[in-house]
């Protein structure tokens, strides 16, 4: 077991960015765990949803960005609907995914290929945007 030293300001910028993208109040969470208890995707997760939030509260951005959990989250919003504190954890997960993509900078779907895809009139634009982001890991 490794001991983690909490350096509060180390990832201040990243945490701020998460707050900015999601517009959620991380400190409103009182760690009741209802998000985890109701989550349908926990079997695929290495860090439980409420633990993701706790890591964010402690400023441990590195742990959350490296976790499998953020990619297992199905954005079903069950956690958000049931949270007694009104914290939308699904939004936070999306914000972390976005930061990951922005930091990596290479999308799976190349921008130059979009034109080709769009000639197919039946392809919804939203699907293209999703593909750009979600499959880039």
């Amino acid at each position: 077991m490794t001991r983690t030293k909490i350096i509060p300001d180390k990832y201040e910028k990243d945490i701020l960015q998460i707050k900015k993208i999601s517009n959620e109040m991380i400190n409103d969470c009182m760690q009741c765990g209802k998000c985890t208890a109701g989550c349908p995707a926990i079997t695929e997760m290495d860090i439980l949803p409420h633990q993701i939030l706790r890591h964010l509260q402690l400023g441990q951005f590195d742990k959350v960005i490296q976790s499998k959990t953020i990619w297992s989250c199905a954005s079903c919003f069950t956690c958000a609907a049931r949270c007694p504190r009104g914290v939308d954890l699904a939004k936070l997960m999306e914000a972390i995914r976005l930061i990951n993509l922005r930091q990596k900078g290479n999308d799976r779907l190349k921008v130059q290929n979009i034109g080709q895809l769009m000639t197919d009139q039946k392809m919804p634009q939203q699907a293209v945007v999703s593909a750009l982001r979600k499959y880039s890991k």
């Binding site: 009182m30 765990g33 209802k34 985890t36 208890a37 109701g38 439980l48 007694p84 009104g86």
Partner: protein, 660 residues
């Protein structure tokens, strides 16, 4: 020229940190009429007050301005000090440079500037102040208690024991309230009925107490010492004097479809019913929505069977009017509606609230005290308790506050199960355990250490009924383990909330409520049982979530305040009331329309207009009823009404001084 003294308070660092008090003093010295100005660290202290008195005497001051905290806090303190120094107390003005300057500003320069402006306004106003002498009002030596739960009963007994008459108005057919529904009480595990019912009987038998059950407060007017209250006594359809409580009517009533309120809907009752065995008064009442006779004209079986002719189907609602000197509000609480929490399946018969649990374990309850599932009457093997259902919930489904009593009663419930049936497994899902009362934490730990109740820190996410079982999906946040428990019963500790009709009562009483509709005390620390309206006091959970020991303590405290009030032969009136200049009044009586206290009426007078006698109508203020709100003064078109102590001239002088 006036001789005004200005005293600037530091309030320790409360004011001095953001306001340059020395500069305020220097500026004050230059203001017209100011003969003396000084600052002191704590003006409200004995030394500060003595300093004020000495200066008044030495410099022959005739008016005083204190630049300090809110007048709500210490206006009376300084008025009294001035009076002791020989000045009429209404020649004292407060400039609120704490709440309005230092507490809201960070910039010392801006704060100081505002403090000087407010002091200048107070000086300008006090220059025009005149001596006021309060009048006296009589006190009706009788108190009204709204609500007949443990809070109301305790207050009533205390006041009645002190020798004053007390009336209890209770909405339901019996007194006793929520406590009567409970099985055991924490932390001593006393039988609730055993400690409550003797008190109910005491209240009913006390020569000084009158019970108005099945009654509601309809209208309240008047003021401290002289409240005029209309009480609606709902038609009971049973003659209270004739009824012997034999219960033939309740047993034979053919209509048995109504859910018993007392049994939390777990049992049916007849259309004619006594809420519970120990009800006080032990007289049935007929439910108009259920009674076949009242709905269709047929039946009337109870009337035929009653051996004492007590049933009277022609009974009518009755309104009685009573006078009271003081009112105690003890209207209690409710629990929230759980239908919004779909994930907890409250519509499933085996998912119950804690109050329903109390009935199920109660020996007099629907299962005669046997712990059985409501769905099939079988004995459960696993019971899951879920705490904070809707409490500490900031979303619109719940209540943002902690309901305070659930940690303790859930520990109590789990212990009661384990005591009776050691083979039943009990699990408690909690977020935090909050048990700060006397012997409370020991009580909760006993559930864990002695009875082996499994406490799991974490919330339940969802409950799925599967066959006869309820699959409870939860998490142990400590170990990070997700759990599924195949429970037979789930008990939800639902959040408490203010009574749904609290807002109605607040309007009738002219008192205030907080954001959650609980009644607000006059001061959270120093006046916890009083409201901002004189003569109206609070007791119990209508003020916020409270357990029984706290409720009883507060009820006795409210009673002590009432006794103190009723003990006075005369009350001193607020002299800051409105006055009519009859020569200016045009008799339009717009003021009578707007007065919220019905304090203004009219009278016919005869005036001498250059030798000609003219009759005219003018507004007439009842000084005892006037609260000095000032509404009439701004309504008055000819400007004939002025508020003593806050005249138009004084207010304009203040405005001029600020715009200086």
């Amino acid at each position: 020229m006036r001789k005004i003294g200005v005293f600037v308070c530091w309030c320790g660092s409360n004011i001095a940190a953001t306001v340059d008090v020395k500069q305020v003093v220097e500026e004050a010295k230059k203001m017209p009429g100011v003969a003396y100005a000084a600052d002191y660290q704590y003006m409200c202290s004995e030394i500060g007050q003595n300093m004020m008195k000495e200066v008044i005497d030495k410099h022959n001051l005739d008016r005083v301005v204190v630049a300090a905290c809110s007048p709500r806090m210490h206006e009376n303190t300084f008025r009294r000090a001035a009076e002791e120094a020989g000045i009429n107390p209404y020649l004292v003005e407060i400039a609120n440079i704490r709440e309005q300057c230092s507490w809201v500003h960070k910039d010392k320069e801006a704060g100081t500037e505002k403090a000087i402006a407010l002091t200048r306004a107070a000086v300008a106003k006090v220059t025009l102040n005149s001596e006021l002498v309060p009048g006296e009002i009589d006190v009706v030596k009788k108190a009204l208690i709204i609500g007949g739960g443990i809070a109301g009963i305790q207050s009533a007994l205390d006041i009645a024991d002190a020798g004053y008459k007390v009336d209890i108005v209770e909405k339901t057919p019996s007194i006793g309230g929520k406590m009567a529904q409970l099985d055991k009480t924490f932390p001593t595990l006393d039988c609730s009925a055993c400690i409550l019912t003797p008190k109910m009987v005491d209240a009913a038998k006390h020569p000084n107490i009158t019970l108005h059950t099945y009654s509601e407060v309809e209208k309240i007017s008047g003021y401290v010492g002289n409240f005029n209250v209309q009480i609606k006594k709902k038609a009971r359809y049973v003659d209270m004097d004739k009824c012997t409580g034999c219960r033939i009517c309740t047993e034979k009533c053919p209509s048995k479809k109504a859910k018993s309120e007392f049994e939390e809907g777990l049992k049916n009752r007849g259309a004619v019913y006594i809420p519970f065995a120990q009800a006080v008064p032990n007289v049935p009442v007929i439910d108009t929505d259920e009674c076949i006779k009242l709905k269709t004209g047929k039946c009337g079986l109870c009337e035929k069977l009653c051996p004492s002719n007590a049933i009277k189907f022609d009974d009518k609602d009755e309104i009685i009017t009573e006078e009271y000197g003081a009112i105690v509000v003890a209207s209690g609480y409710d629990i929230i509606d759980l239908n919004k929490f779909g994930e907890y399946q409250y519509d499933h018969p085996d998912v119950i609230t804690s109050l329903e649990f109390e009935r199920i374990t109660n020996a007099a309850g629907p299962t005669n005290g046997k712990f059985l599932r409501p769905s099939d009457g079988e004995k459960p093997k696993k019971v899951v308790f879920i705490q904070c259902v809707g409490s500490r919930d900031k979303t619109e489904r719940g209540k943002s506050y902690c309901s305070k009593i659930c940690c303790m009663y859930t520990a109590k419930h789990s212990m009661l199960i384990k005591e009776k049936y050691p083979d039943i497994e009990a699990y408690v899902f909690y977020i935090d355990v909050r048990t700060p009362g006397k012997n409370f934490d020991e009580f909760q730990r006993r559930a864990v250490e002695k009875y082996g109740v499994q406490y799991i820190k974490g919330m339940v996410g969802k409950i799925f009924p599967e066959g006869k079982k309820l699959m409870v999906h939860g998490v142990d946040t400590m170990s990070g383990e997700t759990l599924v428990i195949d429970a037979d019963m789930v008990v939800l500790a639902a959040a408490t909330k203010a009574k749904s009709d609290a807002i109605d009562l607040k309007r009738k009483l002219n008192i205030s409520t907080d954001i959650n509709n609980f009644f607000t005390e006059a001061h959270p620390k120093l006046r916890p049982v009083e409201t901002a309206s004189a003569g109206i006091y609070l007791a119990g959970a209508c003020q916020g979530p409270k357990d029984i020991p706290e409720t009883v303590a507060q009820s006795s405290a409210a009673a002590a305040k009432v006794i103190g009030l009723l003990n006075k032969s005369k009350l001193v009136n607020n002299p800051c009331v409105s006055a009519v200049d009859e020569s200016l009044c045009s008799g339009c009586l717009a003021c009578t329309e707007m007065c919220p206290y019905d304090a203004i009426s009219y009278k016919n007078i005869e005036i001498d207009d250059h030798g000609k006698k003219i009759k005219k109508v003018v507004a007439d203020v009842n000084e005892a009823l006037c609260h000095g709100c000032g509404g009439c003064t701004v309504t008055c078109r000819p400007g004939a009404i002025d508020l003593k102590g806050f005249t138009n001239k004084q207010i304009l002088a203040e405005v001029d001084a600020i715009c200086h």
